[in-house]
C-alpha cells in the first residue's frame, strides 16, 4: 500500500495544479467470490464482461431518469472542477467530478448516442476496454457520493448517481468492492454492519446501563426487542461500541429516560446504515430497509426514530417511504399495513435531533450548559444530511436543528468558514463506502478541506470539539485527525454534548 501522507494545509484555498494519475494506484480490495455470491452478484469478473456491462448500462439509463439526463446534459463548463474534496486533496484530474463522470459518459456516448457512434474522437466517446473498466473501479471508488458538486452544477448533475450506476455495473459483472459488499452480506446475515450478534448486543447494552448508573445514579435503560414500546430507535451499529459513537447512544438513552418516552432497539434491525445506497443497488437497499419495517410491525411501535448517521438518514428520510412504506401519506395496502400503526402526529421517520430539539423547545429536559464549558464546539455538516435530506418543516432545517441543539447544550459555539458548511459542506473524506484501511491515503487527502477550516477555528477561537451527526464522519475523523496534528478525541456526536449537559431526575 502507498504511503499515507497528509497534504500541507493551503494558505489560500485555491485549486491545486493538475497532477495526472496522482491517485492511479489507489483502489480498494476487490470483493471475494464468496462475498459477491452471498449477495447475488457474480463471484469473479465474468468472461463477457464488456457486453454485460453495456447491457447493464442500457438497463440503468432506462430505469433512472436522473442517470440518463446527467449523461446527456453536461457541457463541460467546469463549474464542478474545483468542488470535490478528493480533487482538492490529491490534484488528480480524474477526481474532478466532470472528469469522473466522463469515465462513464465516454462509454455511454460510444454505445448510446449517434455522434459517439459516428465520430467517437470528436465527442470524447470511448470503448469500454479493460483499462477503462479498471479506471472505473479506481476512480468511482474515489467518490464518496457526497453530492457537493451537484450543488454547483447548473443542471444539478449529481456525480453520486453516476458513481452509484458505475458500482452497480461493476457488481453485476463480478467486480465488486470488498468493504461494502462484505458489510452488506453481514447486515443480511446478522442484522448489522458490524456483525454483532443478538446476545453480544444484549450484553453491550447491559454494560452501558451499568456505566450510566455509575456515572449518574439514574436507572437509564437500553431496551432491546421490547414489544409495545412507543419508539423504535434505529441507529448505526457503531453506536453500540465504537468511540466516540457510543457516547451519543448514551445521550439518546438519557433523552428518552428524561422525557419518559418508552423506546426499544431491535436485534432484527440493529443497524440504521444501508450500504445498498453506496453501491446504487435498489433491490439491496430495499431488502435492507425492509428489516426496519419488519421490526416495527413485529414490535408494534408508534414511532420510528433514527440515530446519528448521515447516509442512513438520507435513506430513512428520502427513501424509506418509497422502499418500505415507512412514512406517511400512502394509500396502497403494502404501505398502509405499517402506516396505520404509526402515530402521524410525529414525523415518520424522525431524526433523533428533531426529537430532542422538540423536547428542548417544550422545556421537557433539564440542561446544564455549563457542563460543556470545557469545550469550544463547532459543527461539521455531514454531506448526506446536508444535501440529501431535511429535518423539521422548512428547507434548511437539517442545518438549523442540530445547531440549535448544540447551542442549547453548550455555551461556546463557533461556525467554520462559510463555503465549507451548510449545503457547501465538505465531506469528511470517508463516506460512500470508502471507510476502509486500504484507502487511508485517499481518506487523509480527502479530509484536507475540512481540516483547513477546522485549523482556522481551532487557531482563532480555540475550538476543541467538532460535533457531527454521522457514524462515518466520526470514525473517519477519529482516524485522520492525527495526520493533521489534531487530537483524535476532538470529534464527537451532538448527543454526546446533550449527554454531558442533561440532568436526570432533577425535574419531576
Amino acid at each position: 500500500m502507498a504511503d499515507v501522507t497528509a497534504p500541507p494545509l493551503r494558505e489560500f484555498p485555491v485549486p491545486p495544479a493538475l497532477l495526472p494519475d496522482a491517485m492511479a494506484d489507489s483502489k480498494p480490495y476487490v470483493a471475494t467470490e464468496k462475498m459477491q455470491e452471498a449477495i447475488g452478484f457474480p463471484g469473479t469478473l465474468v468472461d463477457d464482461w464488456h457486453d454485460k456491462a453495456i447491457a447493464k448500462m442500457g438497463e440503468l439509463v432506462g430505469k433512472y431518469r436522473g442517470l440518463r439526463v446527467y449523461l446527456d446534459a453536461c457541457v463541460h463548463c467546469g463549474a464542478c472542477t474545483d468542488k470535490c474534496h478528493y480533487f482538492l486533496g490529491t490534484g488528480d484530474p480524474k477526481n474532478m467530478p466532470v472528469a469522473r463522470q466522463e469515465l462513464m459518459r465516454g462509454v455511454y456516448r460510444r454505445h448510446f448516442t449517434l455522434p459517439g457512434k459516428l465520430f467517437p474522437k470528436l465527442v470524447g466517446a470511448r470503448e469500454l476496454t479493460k483499462d477503462v473498466l479498471d479506471d472505473w473501479y479506481k476512480y468511482y471508488n474515489q467518490c464518496s457520493e457526497c453530492r457537493r458538486c451537484s450543488v454547483f452544477c447548473p443542471y444539478g448533475i449529481d456525480t453520486a448517481e453516476v458513481t452509484m450506476a458505475a458500482k452497480e455495473i461493476l457488481d453485476s459483472i463480478g467486480y465488486g468492492q470488498k468493504y461494502t459488499n462484505e458489510i452488506i452480506g453481514k447486515v443480511h446475515k446478522i442484522g448489522n454492519n458490524l456483525g454483532l450478534p443478538g446476545p453480544a448486543l444484549e450484553d453491550t447494552l447491559l454494560g452501558l446501563e451499568e456505566d450510566v448508573k455509575d456515572e449518574t445514579g439514574a436507572d437509564v435503560k437500553f431496551p432491546l426487542d421490547v414489544k409495545g414500546a412507543e419508539v423504535l430507535l434505529v441507529t448505526p451499529s457503531a453506536d453500540f461500541f465504537a468511540e466516540p459513537h457510543v457516547d451519543s447512544l448514551i445521550g439518546y438513552a438519557k433523552v428518552f429516560h428524561a422525557a419518559g418516552i418508552s423506546w426499544t432497539l431491535s436485534s432484527h434491525a440493529s443497524e440504521a446504515g444501508n450500504f445498498g445506497l453506496f453501491i446504487g443497488n435498489y433491490e439491496q437497499m430495499r431488502t435492507i430497509a425492509m428489516r426496519i419495517r419488519e421490526a416495527a410491525l413485529e414490535l408494534g411501535v408508534k414511532r420510528i426514530v433514527v440515530g446519528e448517521c448521515g447516509h442512513a438518514w438520507r435513506v430513512a428520510y428520502s427513501f424509506w417511504n418509497t422502499l418500505a412504506g415507512i412514512g406517511s401519506g400512502a394509500d396502497d395496502p403494502f404501505a398502509r399495513m405499517l402506516q396505520s400503526q404509526l402515530d402521524h402526529n410525529y414525523r415518520q421517520p424522525t431524526h433523533i435531533c428533531e426529537l430532542t430539539w422538540d423536547l428542548v423547545r417544550k422545556g421537557a429536559l433539564v440542561l446544564d450548559k455549563e457542563a460543556n464549558d470545557h469545550r469550544v464546539v463547532t459543527f461539521h455538516d455531514s454531506c448526506n444530511v446536508a444535501r440529501a435530506s431535511r429535518m423539521g418543516d422548512d428547507p434548511g432545517g437539517q442545518f438549523e436543528i442540530p445547531r440549535a441543539l448544540v447551542r442549547a447544550v453548550a455555551n461556546r459555539y463557533v461556525e467554520m468558514r462559510p463555503g465549507t458548511t451548510h449545503e457547501a459542506t465538505f465531506c469528511c473524506g470517508g463516506g460512500g463506502g470508502l471507510l476502509t484501511d486500504e484507502l487511508l491515503d485517499l481518506r487523509v487527502k480527502g479530509a484536507l478541506p475540512r481540516m483547513e477550516s477546522l485549523r482556522e477555528v481551532a487557531d482563532r477561537h480555540g475550538v476543541n470539539f467538532m460535533a457531527t451527526i454521522c457514524a462515518i464522519c466520526k470514525a473517519q475523523f477519529t482516524k485522520v485527525l492525527p495526520y493533521y496534528g489534531f487530537n483524535r478525541n476532538m470529534v464527537g456526536g451532538v448527543h454526546q454534548l446533550v449527554s454531558t449537559a442533561i440532568r436526570l431526575g432533577a425535574k419531576q
Binding site: V75, F152, S328, A335
Partner: protein
C-alpha cells in the same frame, strides 16, 4: 441556392423539432424511482417551479460555483435570447411591436454574445482544469456559435445583404414556397451554420437545455416523508 437552403432548412427544422420531441419523450418516459433533489429543496410544486425559473433565468447554481463562468455564460445566453427574438422580424409580417422595439438592443446583444463566447472559449485554453475536460466538440461548438455571430454582425456592419429579400425568402418557406434568396457568401455561411446548429442540437450537449427541466436534482419536491413516491417498476416489488 434558394432551393438548396429551402431544403436544408426544412430538414434542419424537422430534425430539430422531431429530435427534441423524441428526447423529451424519452426523458419524460424514464422513471425517477427515488427522491433525489439536492437539498435544501423546495417543499411545494410552486417552489420547485421558482427554483427552475431561477436556474433558467439567473443560472443560480453556476453563480454559486464560479463567477467568471457565470458571467460569460449568462451574458452569452441572455444575448443569444435577445438576438433570437430580434430575428423574429424575418418571420413575421407585420413585425410585432415589441420585436421592433428590441431591434437596436439586439444589435448590441450580438456583440455581447461574441464577448461571452470569447470568455467561455478563453477558459478552455487558460484554465488548466477546464482545458483538461474540453473535447474537440466543445471547441467546435464554440467555433460554430462564434462564426454564426460574426457572420451575422458582418452582414450588419461589413457587407450588407438584402434583408428584404431574406425576409421574403423565409416568409415564403413558411407558406411552402421557395422564393429568391440573395446569392451572398456571408449570408450563405450564416444560414448554413445556423442550419448545422439546428441539426446537431438534439444529438449534442445542447441537450442541457431540455435536460435541466428533467433533472431530478432540481425538479423534485422535497416531501418524501409526507408522500409515498413510487415508480412503476419499483411498485411491482411490493407485491412480489
Amino acid at each position: 441556392m434558394a432551393a438548396f437552403f429551402a431544403g436544408l432548412f426544412y430538414l434542419a427544422a424537422t430534425v430539430l423539432v422531431a429530435g427534441l420531441a423524441v428526447r423529451i419523450r424519452q426523458y419524460a418516459g424514464t422513471p425517477a424511482p427515488l427522491k433525489i433533489p439536492t437539498t435544501p429543496a423546495p417543499t411545494t410544486r410552486g417552489g420547485v417551479a421558482l427554483r427552475l425559473v431561477r436556474e433558467v433565468v439567473l443560472f443560480e447554481s453556476l453563480f454559486k460555483a464560479t463567477l467568471w463562468t457565470w458571467l460569460f455564460g449568462w451574458v452569452f445566453h441572455a444575448a443569444l435570447a435577445l438576438v433570437l427574438l430580434r430575428h423574429l422580424r424575418y418571420f413575421t409580417e407585420p413585425v410585432w411591436g415589441w420585436v421592433a422595439f428590441i431591434q437596436p438592443f439586439g444589435v448590441y446583444a450580438g456583440f455581447a454574445m461574441l464577448a461571452g463566447l470569447a470568455g467561455l472559449w478563453a477558459r478552455r485554453f487558460l484554465v488548466d482544469r477546464v482545458r483538461y475536460i474540453s473535447t474537440p466538440s466543445d471547441h467546435l461548438m464554440l467555433a460554430l456559435l462564434v462564426a454564426i455571430g460574426a457572420s451575422g454582425l458582418a452582414m450588419k456592419y461589413v457587407a450588407h445583404t438584402d434583408v428584404i429579400a431574406v425576409k421574403s425568402f423565409f416568409l415564403g418557406l413558411m407558406s411552402f414556397e421557395v422564393r429568391h434568396l440573395p446569392a451572398d457568401p456571408i449570408l450563405a455561411l450564416h444560414l448554413g451554420l445556423v442550419a448545422a446548429l439546428m441539426l446537431v442540437f438534439p444529438f449534442s450537449k445542447l441537450l442541457h437545455a431540455p435536460g435541466l427541466f428533467f433533472s431530478p436534482g432540481r425538479n423534485q419536491v422535497d416531501d418524501p416523508r409526507e408522500r409515498r413516491h413510487l415508480a412503476e417498476w419499483a411498485a411491482r416489488l411490493d407485491t412480489k
